[in-house]
Every structure is written in C-alpha cells, then in structure tokens.
Amino acid sequence: MKFIGLVLKSARRSKRRTLLTVMSVAIAVFLFASLRAVLDGFNAATEASSSTRIVTLRSTSLFFSMPTSHAEGIKSTPGVQDITWANWFGGVYKDPQNFFAQFAIEPESYLRLYPEIELTPEDRKAFLDDRTGCIVGDGLAKRFGFKVGDKVTLQVGIPIYGTRDFDFNVRGIYKSGGAAVDNQSMFFHWKYADERSIQPGQIGWFIAQISNPDEATQVATAIDQKFANSPNETKTDTEKQFQATFVSMFGNLNLLLGSIALAVVITTLFVAGNTMAMSVRERTTEIAVMRTLGFPSSTIFLLIAGEGLMMAIVGGILGVGFARLIVTPDLMQAGAFIPVFGVNNTNAVTALLLSAGIGIFAGLIPATMASRLKIVDALRRVA
C-alpha cells in the first residue's frame, strides 16, 4: 500500500504522456467491448432462438420468394403443428437513414408462433382488426416517438410493391419477450402489402411450429423433399440455423471483428510498451538512485509494472464505461439486426481483464529493464 503513492506520483510525472497512454488503452478497450457486443448480440439472438420453430426459405437465397401454395405443403408435413409466414418489406420512413426492419406478416398466426411479441389484448385486437394496422417495438416507438393511433407512411423500398407510399396506423406497441425478437421492428398485415404487389402471392419465408424439437431435422428434410425438383425448391433450417445464416450474410463476423479487435489491442500494446520504455529510460538515474538506497530489483520491477498496470486499468475502466454508455440499441440504432445489443457484464469483465493484460505485457519489458539496471553504469551515464 505504501508504494501506491509512489506509483501515482510517477505516473503524474508526464501528465500528457500518461493521459495519452490511458486514452489509447481506453480506446482499444472501448473498441474491443463494442465489437464484442456486436458478436454477443448476434449470438444472443441465435441462442435465444426457439427449438420448436423451423424456417423455410427458397433454397437459392433469402432474397427469393415462394408461392403461398407452399403453405399447404408445409402444414401437411408430419410433425408440423402450425405455420405462419413473413416478407421483408424494406420501406423507407422519411429518410433512408431512418432504417428499421419492417415485416409483412400473417398477423394472427405470427403472433401465435411468436409469443415473444408481447402486446396488450386491446392492442392485439386492434392490430388484427385493422388491415392497414401495424405494431412497432417499444424501442422503435421511442426512437421515432410513435404512439398508438399515429399514422406512419413508408415509401416503397423494393420495387415489387409498386411506387405508391404505404400508410399504416399504429395499433400497438409491443415489448420484446426474448432475444429472438427485437424491439426495433415494425410488423403489419401481409395481405395489405400483397394486394399492392406486382407479384402477388409471394412469401419470403415460412415459419413452422413443430411438436418435437428432436425431430426438427427430419421434419425439415421432409418439407424440403416435398418441393424438391419444383421451380421453388426450399431449404428448411431450425430457427437457430436461420439466424446463423442471417448473420453469415454479413460475412465471417467472428473473424472480421475478432481481427479488428486483435489488431487494435496489439497496436495499443506496442504503443503503451514503447511509452513505458521511454518513461523508464528517462528515469534511469532515479531508478539507479532508488537501487542505491536499497530498493531491491523485485520492488523496482513491481513499481514499474504496477505503474503500467494502473494506467491500463484506468484506461480499461474508462473504455468499458464509455462502451456501456454508448453501445446501446437506442444510441447505436442496431436493434433491427441485433435484438440484444449492449456491453454485458461478461464482456465488461473480459475487457477489463484485457486492459490489465495490456498493462502487464506493456510493462513487462520496461520493468525488466529497470530491475536489471546496473547501478554504477546508470549513475555514470548522467554523472
């Protein structure tokens, strides 16, 4: 404890350098925690996926649709209890920058299959009864100030829906009851969109409720076999695999974000290490004096390493603090793709440990240099 004052005083020797070192660690930790939050968000959605829901898409891609006639074929497959469907709408609310996800759904069955969409019974009824009604997540409502009864106009984003704007009545604001559903989306009646589509009767994806999760693979195979060799072949996966496929559309996120985080951390390690080595070089005489006064090499090592560790941990706390403040679905507007978006406790602790790791490794060489200093040579260098 009595050496902490000494460490603090040493760190304050060059305030600007200490501040820059702390900030470089803070930025590295912030980036690490933020990137980790993106991956955690995607993984949380995947992990929270229902094991009793399977998703059927066109085998070619998510971007191709299927005829409504597939519904009967899927529903009649043994093991399937219920089905629903949805289309990606891709509309624009006032400005393309106001992006959020909009889904044209078969409302009754969709709400049945997705109990995670939590609505009051009144809102649910109002939504089901209004062909041009829509429901929005509470996060989205907060973002744009939507209230029940508001009129929301979306410009058409995908040419298949013509050129005329779509008007919707906000009939309910839902809460997300699980990571499988975000609170930043808008749902409306599939029929409303379909009746103005230039290619009516097209479905983006079907969701089937199955009775036994253990039979998911067999049921999926049975569905796909039904449509094999047809013009609209399908690919059915569990919801978890579907989520993973959705994430993979962004590329290998784990590798990409992991590489960025690693590069940032390694760069910071070098910067902090170099700064500390400079600091030790400048203090050569002081260290020699302390050794002359009787400070053992091990104490000198701990003092220098402790200084690095302290700066890195302060940077880590700042970085994690900023990340927790800034990386939120509301501020980052990422809820449409990442339902659970934020720096969770595990991420925060990992980031803090990382900062401590940066401090330890950055301080290792300078601390070794300092502790191995030959007193007489170091004193002679200045004298």
């Binding site: 020797r13 004096v289 002359t292 006064l293 009787g294 400070f295 053992p296 007193i375 007489v376």
Partner: protein, 211 residues
C-alpha cells in the same frame, strides 16, 4: 589496496580523475562488485552477499550522498527523505517522525512540502543528506557532495557533514577534488591509478571499522 577505516572516522578520498576513488566508494556502498579481494564492513563481508541481501544491507547501513543530489523530482522534500523508510516496517506516523527528525538536523523542516525544483542547490543537497541519514545508517558515503555547489552552500554542507560525524558519530567517507572540503576530514587518502599514494592523518585514534 588494503585500508581500515575506524568507526566514527571522517575519511576523505582524493585523487585525479581515473584514480579509482569513486570506484572505491561504489565498492564500499555495495553498488559495484570487486573482481578480486574482499570488503568487510562492520561484521558483514559485503563482497560475498547476494544482490538482494546487499540491497537490504545497503538500506540498513549505508547513506549515500551524490554530487548532483539525485532527488526524485516528482516527490516533495518530505517524500524524498521518506523514500528509504518505505523499505522498513515502520508505521506512517513513525516514518513521519523519522523524516521530520532528519529534516530538522539539516534545518529544512519548513521545506518539507517543497519539490526539488523549488529548492536551491544547497537545500537540495541538504535534503539529500537528510535522505541519507533518515534510516540512521552507520556509514555515510559522499561522492563529491560539494562539487555542484557555490562556496557558501558548499561550506554549509561540509559543516553539516562534520556535525554528523562529531555529534552523531557517523562514519563518513567522502570523495572530493576540493582541498578545502578535504580539510574537514580527519584523514585523507590520496589515490592514483588505483593505488594509495599518500595518507594525511588529522584526527585522533578511533576503534577500527574494518573496510
């Protein structure tokens, strides 16, 4: 070279550059190692101690005064003097008492909160002397302690060293180029090229502290 320094002696080491006086001082302080021969200080054969043991021995038994004071610039006078005490088991209050006593001896209690840059050269050297004596070591080693001071400050520092020798019975070994400084010592050794060429004795006989 073989020399004995009696306990309580004030020994001056003189000689031209390269004569080995600073090397001898460093060997005595245990911050340099002899390639041959042995050094015994009091009951301890310091030349055979390990690095760690030597550091501990230094902390307990030696006070070192540098030509350029070598105070830590980010620490106050108080903190600089307290530095060697951080290696002891003394409580904060005990450390404070020791520091204030040492600063009192060098007449700088009113400068305890000053940083080295706020002190004159003479004051800095007195703080350095306080740091050297705060652990109450038996041996004070001074490497040209007045080499960077004006005549007045140098005289004050030399008087202080003399007082530490006479009043507090400290054994002092001082390297100097300055004949006036050497006059304060009770015995002066003249070295040349690593050998003892002359010895001038000014003081009374004392019990031997074998070096």
């Amino acid at each position: 070279m073989s020399i004995d320094v009696p306990e309580g002696e004030y020994l001056g080491l003189m000689g031209p550059s390269g004569s080995g006086k600073s090397t001898l001082l460093n060997l005595l302080a245990g911050i340099d190692r002899p390639t041959r021969g042995s050094i015994r200080i009091g009951d301890t054969q310091t030349s055979s101690l390990s690095e760690r043991a030597l550091a501990g021995w230094r902390a307990r038994n030696v006070g070192f005064i540098f030509q350029l004071y070598n105070l830590i610039p980010v620490l106050t006078a108080f903190e600089n003097v307290e530095l060697p005490l951080l290696l002891t088991n003394l409580s904060k209050k005990q450390r404070r008492d020791h520091v204030m006593t040492a600063l009192g001896i060098v007449a700088l209690t009113d400068r305890e909160k000053h940083y080295p840059r706020q002190l004159s050269g003479g004051q800095e050297q007195r703080v350095a002397i306080a740091r050297a004596i705060v652990t109450d070591p038996m041996l004070l080693l001074a490497d040209e302690p007045t080499g960077d001071l004006d005549a007045k400050s140098a005289s004050e520092v030399l008087t202080l060293l003399q007082r530490l020798n006479k009043e507090y019975k400290k054994t002092i070994i001082m390297v100097t180029h300055d004949p006036h400084a050497a006059e304060r010592a009770t015995r002066v050794l003249h070295l040349e090229k690593g050998t003892l060429v002359e010895q001038v004795d000014r003081g009374p006989e004392r019990p031997a502290l074998q070096v």
